[in-house]
């Protein structure tokens, strides 16, 4: 195992070499590199068919594209959102499943239980409501720090689940069924090429995966912009030393609340996507254990590093499915894998990096300082 981790460390240093070479490439080369990577991700449902590595990624017993959407995409989205709260702003949130549930329930209520809005209309409402719930929860609780905040959020997650279980208005323990699905797209005709139509049905999970992947890209884009701005700096400063940050003029309460709201919005987005795919939700879909797994994804991948969070989300979602043929021992295998990673790489698989490059593109008038 430690050899395996050695290998990983070697991979990371190799990665650094690749980065150096990457930077020396021309813009066109880099753009085509990105395009290829994006294409490969959209073609992921067919990865198990690739000879050589197909057996490695394959998930025995479950359709691979189902795992991709229902597990991987959901966990990646959630890990991205939770990373803002835990990794960037340093606020320990143990009830993140609550926001995920709010997103799912808003879609359920608006498309099936009490109205019949289309999914695409319910989606932004779900995101906004989750954000609002984040603000409502954050306003009184963000005055607490560390362990105390963790306990309060833990309670929040349970309150949401138990409320859903006991409110007839939300379907109680029966849950909500017949939830609206995303609208079909196409067929799209590009010259001789006809694409689609992309139907969001019950049988084929691939369109959901593609939609989910697009949402992931959208979220990554937005979070990247936030990280590389005054907002991201404020969050990091709060994580590093909250008192010093406030004495340097950071309105800590406001930015903590924003971190909570942004995290909640992404969690709600994941919930809305999930509800649209499965079509049926009940309080049992949102157990406390899920909050723990979400947090595990962030910490395993590398708290504070967006790409680490993505990797962690992929691992936590995919590993148990990969080892499904271990039947009831798979949870044990998964647990051992988590413990080993934490022992040998306590900062996660992709640790937080100090940005070596200046946050601004250095001006050409020699602003950048020689090392």
């Amino acid at each position: 195992m430690s050899q395996l981790l050695n290998l990983w460390t070697r991979f990371l240093s190799l990665n650094a070499d690749v980065q150096v070479r990457w930077k020396s490439m021309s813009r066109a080369q880099r753009l085509s590199g990105y395009a290829l990577a994006v294409l490969a991700l959209y073609l992921a449902p067919w990865w198990p068919k690739i000879p050589g590595i197909g057996w490695l990624v394959n998930t025995p017993g479950t359709q691979f594209s189902t795992v991709l959407n229902d597990q991987v995409i959901i966990f990646v989205l959630v890990a991205l959102g939770l990373n803002v709260v835990v990794g960037l702003a340093g606020l320990l949130d143990l009830g993140y499943v609550g926001f995920y549930a709010v997103g799912a329930y808003v879609v359920g209520v608006l498309t099936s239980q009490h109205a019949s809005l289309p999914w695409i209309v319910a989606l932004p409402i779900a995101v906004l409501v989750s954000m609002l719930v984040g603000v409502i929860l954050g306003t009184p609780t963000l005055r607490l720090r560390g362990d105390y905040l963790a306990i309060v959020t833990l309670g929040f997650g349970e309150i949401i689940r138990i409320s859903a279980k006991n409110l007839d208005w939300l379907g109680a323990s029966r849950g909500i069924s017949d939830i609206g699905k995303p609208p079909s797209i196409g067929p799209l005709t590009l010259g001789p090429l006809t694409l689609g139509p992309l139907k969001f049905g019950v049988i084929d999970p691939k369109p959901y995966y593609w939609l989910g992947l697009t949402l992931v890209f959208l979220v990554v884009f937005c979070l990247y912009r936030l990280e590389e701005s005054r907002v991201g700096r404020a969050w990091t400063a709060i994580r590093e030393d909250e008192d010093a940050a406030e004495l340097m003029g950071v309105n800590t309460f406001k930015f903590k609340l924003w971190a909570f709201a942004i995290g909640a919005a992404v969690g709600g987005l994941a919930g809305a996507h999930y509800a649209g795919k499965v079509g049926f939700i009940s309080p049992d879909n949102f157990p406390l254990q899920l909050s723990i797994l979400f947090l595990a994804a962030v910490v395993l991948g590398g708290s504070g590093n967006m790409y680490g969070a993505i990797l962690g989300g992929v691992m936590v979602a995919w590993l148990p499915e990969r080892f499904r043929n271990f039947t009831d021992k798979r949870v044990l295998v998964f647990g051992i894998a988590l413990v080993l990673v934490m022992v040998f790489r306590p900062e996660g698989l992709l640790p937080r990096r100090v940005r070596t490059k200046s946050p601004m593109k250095p001006a050409s008038d020699g602003q950048e300082v020689a090392q």
């Binding site: 406030e246 340097m248 100090v354």
Partner: protein, 259 residues
């Protein structure tokens, strides 16, 4: 130095339970001066700073800055109104780079928030560039620009001390409070620091300096205030204070036969 009062520390008493850390202390800081605040260990110097910057709410008394009462303001509001400080035990954002640390300070004067950052508006990009340029300028002023892209925790001690000053200056304060900036410096570094403090003053900042090191305080300060056991025991020009019997007694003790 002018006769305009920049900060008026008005009959401040600060109690923690039964302990009185400051007892009815009044200090006036004039615009453009360098005021040294000295006293033996535990005299209440840092408590003074903490009251001024809003870390503590005084039990009694008020702090008036630039003509307005700041006693009840939140800490970040006090910073935004023009008081910045450094810390006795260095408190940088250790995982951020040097320039990012300073940018956090510079951001105190900026307004763009989440929506602007998401849309990368023109205003937001201009502010980012302004923050960055100003931060690099300050790092250069402090003579530490060569390590701008290093994580703060990887900087040598002297750099960290100066980075704290740069970060405080970035908030564009009118009053800069330095809490033992020479702690742990060798004589050459102290000499450099003296010059740095003069440079800062010449740029129009008012400086309040807490320092143990007499070579720094006596050389740099225009006026000196001495605290002992939470009370102000002397105030005046460095030379006057140096020969004040109360001050000598506070520092060296009173000989038995004098009692």
């Amino acid at each position: 130095m002018t006769n305009e009062v920049l900060l008026d520390f008005n009959n401040v008493t600060m109690q923690f339970g039964g302990v009185t850390a400051l007892s009815d202390v009044s200090v006036k800081i004039f615009r453009g001066e360098i005021l040294g605040l000295i006293g033996p260990n535990g005299a209440g110097k840092t408590t003074c700073f903490n009251v001024m910057t809003g870390v503590y709410q005084p039990t009694q008394g008020s702090v008036v800055f630039n003509g307005s009462d700041i006693t009840k303001l939140k800490r970040f509001q006090i910073t935004q109104s023009g008081i910045a400080r450094t810390f006795q035990n260095i408190r940088l954002f250790s995982e951020m780079t040097a320039v990012e640390n300073v940018m956090v300070g510079a951001d105190a004067r900026k307004t763009s928030s989440i929506p602007a950052a998401l849309l990368r508006t023109k205003h937001q990009r201009a502010e980012e560039k302004e923050s960055y340029d100003r931060s690099m300028e300050l790092l250069a002023l402090m003579g530490i620009a060569d390590r701008a892209s290093d994580a703060a925790r990887n900087l040598p001690y002297g750099y960290q001390r100066r980075l704290e000053i740069a970060r405080a200056l970035a908030t564009e304060p009118e009053l800069l409070c330095l809490d033992e900036p020479a702690a742990g410096f060798n004589p050459a570094e102290k000499q450099q620091l003296n010059e740095l403090i003069f440079t800062i003053r010449d740029r129009g900042y008012t400086v309040l300096l807490i320092e143990h090191d007499m070579s720094v305080v006596m050389n740099v300060s225009d006026r000196v205030v001495v605290l002992d056991f939470g009370k102000k025991i002397a105030e005046g020009l460095p030379n006057e204070v140096r020969s004040n019997p109360d001050v000598i007694a506070a520092y060296l003790g009173v000989p038995d036969d004098a009692a």
